[in-house]
Amino acid sequence: MLLQALRIALRSLKVNKLRTALTMLGIMIGVAAVIAMVSVGAGAQARVAEQIQSLGSNLIIVLSGSSNAAGVRLGQGSQTTITEDDASAIAREVPLVQVAAPSSRGNAQVVYGNLNWSTGIQGVTADYFEARDWPVEVGRPVLQEDVDGATKVALLGQTTALNLFGDADPIGQIIRIKKVPFTVVGLLSRKGQSSWGQDQDDVILIPLSTAKKKVLGVSQANARSVGSISIKIRPDEDMAEAETQIRALLRQRHRLQPYQDDDFWLRNLSEVLQTQEESSKVMTYLLAAIASVSLLVGGIGIMNIMLVSVTERTREIGLRMAVGARSRDILTQFLVEAVTLSLIGGVIGIALGIGGSNAISALAEWRTVLAPSAIVLAFGFAAAIGIFFGFYPARKASRLDPIEALRYE
């Protein structure tokens, strides 16, 4: 019977091809929009998730705070308030901390042969690689001996290596940083862009001690001071709790009174990114919701056309009833017709949505992720809309009085 209803539905849809196509258009656009929009949103989410991955999860960064001299407050990092000793104290005294790596950063012109390149010079310790989840691709990392002996070794980021060496192997070569020769001992793996768009691979890592003595110079106020400490929290530990403990420890070490502001900055970057991820998730829902509206409008279009169709075919309905169609036969016939409309529209919409999502990623160069669940959901939604909006016209048809329907002009 259902198969029969499907055949009748297809026939009546074929009779009015243009009307059928226009009715389907609403559902097509709705389904396509839902799929494309959700794929854009999912793409954004995936990007953020990747950034979190590249940043290294569980990372807290301590930065030197602002100075407050006679009421004049200078900016962040204007005073080198944190030290290597702070770093080792954090690693030692806060149990949630896996590793704490002090580092200092500056910029310098780097020369290799007849090429030169201005890049960030980061003075690091052996712990830095672990704290930042940043493996060495070729060669070796900075070792404890390098820091102890202030050796002149350097590791290149991918961007720096490309600019100084091109495709050549940089390992073992001598580069000059501020005229000081360094031996390249390693090449870092690619880290990609940071969440604020900075190229993290445009960097050279050298031992912290060497950096202070030869490249970046030493703070006159405190020879042990550093620019930042990268702290990795043990997996599955509470980041907020770790932050609280680190802040308390630093305040105690810096002898800050309760009324005084922190003289350092704590940055929990993964938290920032998680917020971003949340907001991109919200954006996905929002896009899907907006796209759903067009699906809804498409459904109303179906209802509209089905009502017209029922009126137009009143005599046909009367005849079918006269020759023995029961109410439910008529109901099924029109319901199947509405659902067929929405399902065919849905299938075409899925194709359009996939195509649209690919076009967006190709033309706008946005990352898009096609989620099968979104496709299934959009299709199911289309079917549900067919049933929902087809039901009223179908019921109206099934409740017609056969005598009046037969007489209808």
Binding site: V15, E316, M321, A322, G324, R326, I403, L406
Partner: protein, 246 residues
Amino acid sequence: MAIIATEELGKDYHLGPHTVHALRGVSVSIEPGEFVAVMGPSGSGKSTFMNLLGCLDRPSAGRYWLDGQDVARLSRDQLATVRNAKIGFVFQMFNLLPRTSALENVELPLLYGGISSRERRQRGRARLQAVGLADREHHHPSQLSGGQQQRVAIARALVNDPAVILADEPTGNLDTRTSVEILALLQRLNRQGLTIVLVTHEPDIANYASRRLVFRDGRLRTDDHAEPLDAVEALKSLPEEDEAVA
């Protein structure tokens, strides 16, 4: 046993505060093989009577046995099943499904009787042949003349082997010659044993039936038997012309 038996059949319509007594107690009995013409001016109750006979409506009062079954108190869906099994309808406007082949039009009632598609096809073809349209089974109604369309409608009415054919002004939209041809077909089917009830307001048409029921003011006024005219004979006296014109 009578194929149609009504007992004090009545039907009231409520139009706002007014009650219209469309049918005021009609008792009639129609035997198998009869060819009955139902006549009367508009408002006489003949349409209401036919709707009740056709199980399209339920009576307000009285009883109705169709082929031995009491159908006066059946539900909507039960009536649909009775219509499907026991009644063949022929309408003035033919009421064929547009853009649907003659054969599929004939098969339509079988669709709602749960008959397999193979048997539907078989029975549909047989009925089309019986009305002389075997060669037109794939034609759509728009490709057929009025007379041919009515023949398809008659084939459709026959396809379920109904107990009775109810024809409501079947010649109302046809020219004289075609009308007589359709009557000839009905007479032939009647002679083969089919019970036919035909509604008409034209005495000329009613003359081809063997029994006349005349309605007036919701009551049965006249019920007489008469020797019917022979449609085949009548055709001979009609000029051979415009057969194709509907």
